[in-house]
């Protein structure tokens, strides 16, 4: 890899041993993937995936201390994934004890470390840092040093930014040096599609299921999706961006997709069309039968597969403001139809702290409270990491949460039916 004189100097230790190790890590990382050079990070902010002060990953905190002792500050501020704890979210005494005493006992210490290195602010804790209410919104063409698979795939696909699927710690190193190795999704060639996906469904497919099907098929490859624009339109708006947020999170967690193109809709597909598809691309055709096959293949991890759900999570990745309001209204209507006044299964809708602040200003906030809906900034995945909460029958409309936990996936209609008091499936 070609390094500039300045980069070479850092590599050789002229700015200290710790920075030299950071540079060595990024250079060797890039070299493995054929990077030709280091390029500047051009986004205003970074985004980190490791947001939890889990006491069993103390080597990570030791590494953070090493950075702080060396006087290292990130070249750019960063947002971070959601916090793992929120007292508003239902839990029993023992679960709470495990959360606070045995699992996330390093939370405060870790957040103090993050602030010293460059945390944007305490409200910047969300997997959906690109929401207007959070403000970490890269411009088209920006080079990023982010992790969090759902955020990376959104930034690449919907915003047209350029970011590889980085691991935790690597993304921090990129933000510290203000540069990343140039390979993969940072290059024009790496953004070409090796899959042509044709959607032939009768109506708009569930975003989480479609994303899951594509993710499991293409894994880390880039898919070019044809046939969705007739449902989603040709211009990005709040509604279809929410759809793409949920779709992308499923492609990234059920597979390892870092970038997708939606024909006639996402920025690069609009500009370049099917010329983005590589000549030897494979084809995947998705119809309603294929989506049913995918849903039927999901294992149910509950011990008692007929158990009545004890908790429901909506909002993984974090819900947008419009999505939150929509869920509140749908739940309200569903409860009225069934003659109920409150949710029949404790239900938590999660979103970014900044979105929750705006939500509290809307009439839907008091309605949600009256219906018994909890709103929270928590990360549902981190809630489900607790061995005691993992044993509970939890339902969700998130395919990401299903993949990484024992939560059971249902599509929105089935979720709504259950939490408003209908039959559970």
């Amino acid at each position: 890899m070609h390094l500039t004189q300045e980069q070479e100097a850092i590599y050789k230790g002229q700015e200290g041993e710790t920075k030299a190790k950071i540079m060595e890590t990024l250079v060797r990382y890039g070299t493995l993937f054929g990077a030709d050079k280091m390029v500047p990070v051009t986004s205003a902010y970074g985004h980190l995936v490791t947001s939890f002060g889990l006491n069993v990953i103390s080597p990570v905190y030791d590494l953070m201390d090493e950075l702080i002792e060396a006087g290292i500050m990130a070249d750019q501020k960063f947002s971070i994934d959601p916090r793992p704890l929120d007292d508003n979210v239902p839990k029993n005494f023992l679960q709470n004890l495990v959360f606070k005493k045995f699992m996330y006992s390093k939370q405060e210490d870790y957040e103090a470390q993050l602030e010293k290195i460059g945390l944007l602010d305490k409200k910047a804790s969300t997997c959906a840092c690109y929401f207007d209410e959070v403000g970490n919104i890269p411009k088209e063409g920006d080079v990023l040093s982010w992790a969090e698979s759902s955020a990376v795939v959104y930034a690449n696909s919907v915003l047209g930014a350029r970011c590889n699927r980085n691991s935790g710690i690597i993304e921090l190193f990129g933000s510290i040096l203000g540069m990343v190795p140039h390979f993969g999704l940072l290059t024009d060639e790496g953004r070409k599609a090796s899959w042509r996906v044709e959607v032939r469904c009768k109506e708009l497919p569930n975003a989480q299921v479609l994303g899951s099907a594509i993710g499991m098929k293409v894994m880390e490859d880039v898919p070019y999706v044809i046939g969705l624009d007739k449902f989603l339109g040709h211009e990005l708006n709040d509604e279809n961006k929410t759809y793409l947020k949920n779709f992308g999170a499923a492609t990234a967690s059920n597979g390892a997709v870092g970038l997708y193109h939606i024909d006639n809709l996402t920025p690069e597909a609009k500009a370049q069309g099917e010329s983005l598809i590589l000549p030897d691309a494979k084809t995947y055709i998705i119809d309603d039968a294929e989506l049913k096959r995918v849903v039927d293949s999901y294992p149910v991890m509950w011990k008692d597969k007929t158990a009545k759900p004890k908790l429901c999570f909506v909002g993984c990745p974090h819900a947008s403001l419009a999505e939150m309001k929509d869920w509140v209204h749908k739940i309200d209507e569903g409860l009225k139809e069934k003659g109920n006044s409150k949710v029949q299964i404790p239900t938590v809708i999660t979103s970014a702290p900044g979105v929750l602040e705006e939500f509290q200003k809307t009439p839907e906030a008091s309605l949600a409270k009256a219906l018994g809906i909890v709103v929270s900034y928590i990360c549902p995945l981190m809630y489900m990491n607790n061995p005691l909460t993992a044993k509970q029958p939890v339902i969700t409309n998130s395919n990401k949460l299903r993949t990484y936990s024992t939560a059971r996936f249902y599509e929105d209609k089935a979720i709504l039916e259950q939490i408003t008091g209908g039959q559970h499936a």
């Binding site: 990382y29 993937f33 889990l54 069993v56 990953i57 990376v152 390892a256 061995p387």
Partner: protein, 146 residues
């Protein structure tokens, strides 16, 4: 006995028994429980991976296609190594993925532990190697399976 040639990702020599994941190795799901219960053997907790579920991962020659799952993967490998519970070596049939690469480099550069890692060994390697076989890793990326 068969020899396979791969690319050196992290240099070093190793001798260990093979633990083979024919499917993508989910780093977070595999290590998660062992961290929580301070399990020095690093018993695999990924219920979705029947090849290695409930098998110890510390000190083995971990043979895999690539890693999959959460972008915390690299940080998890680093943590396992900092506790001395990493595999003796990692042997990838395919080119290493970005999350595993991060983990392997963090181990190599930021810890005192060794975890020689070879990638691009080919599908034939993964088809041939079985749990319990003796693996020898040479400095030049040669992997001997017997």
């Amino acid at each position: 006995m068969r020899k396979f040639q791969g690319r050196v990702v992290a240099p070093g020599r190793a001798k260990a028994q093979a633990l083979v994941s024919k499917q993508g190795f989910n780093t977070l799901a595999s290590y998660q429980k062992s961290f929580l219960v301070h399990d020095k053997k690093a018993t695999c907790s990924d219920q979705n991976n029947p090849d290695i579920y409930k098998k110890p991962m510390a000190g083995v020659a971990l043979c895999l296609p690539q890693t999959i799952g959460s972008t915390t993967g690299g940080m998890i490998l680093y943590t396992a190594a900092a506790y001395g519970r990493q595999p003796a070596c990692m042997l990838f049939a395919e080119k290493i993925d970005s999350l595993a690469a991060a983990g392997v480099l963090l181990v190599d550069i930021w810890t005192d532990q060794d975890m020689p890692t070879i990638d691009d060994l080919g599908q034939e390697f993964l088809d041939y190697v079985q749990n319990g076989m003796q693996i020898t890793v040479e400095e030049d990326g040669v992997v001997i399976v017997e």
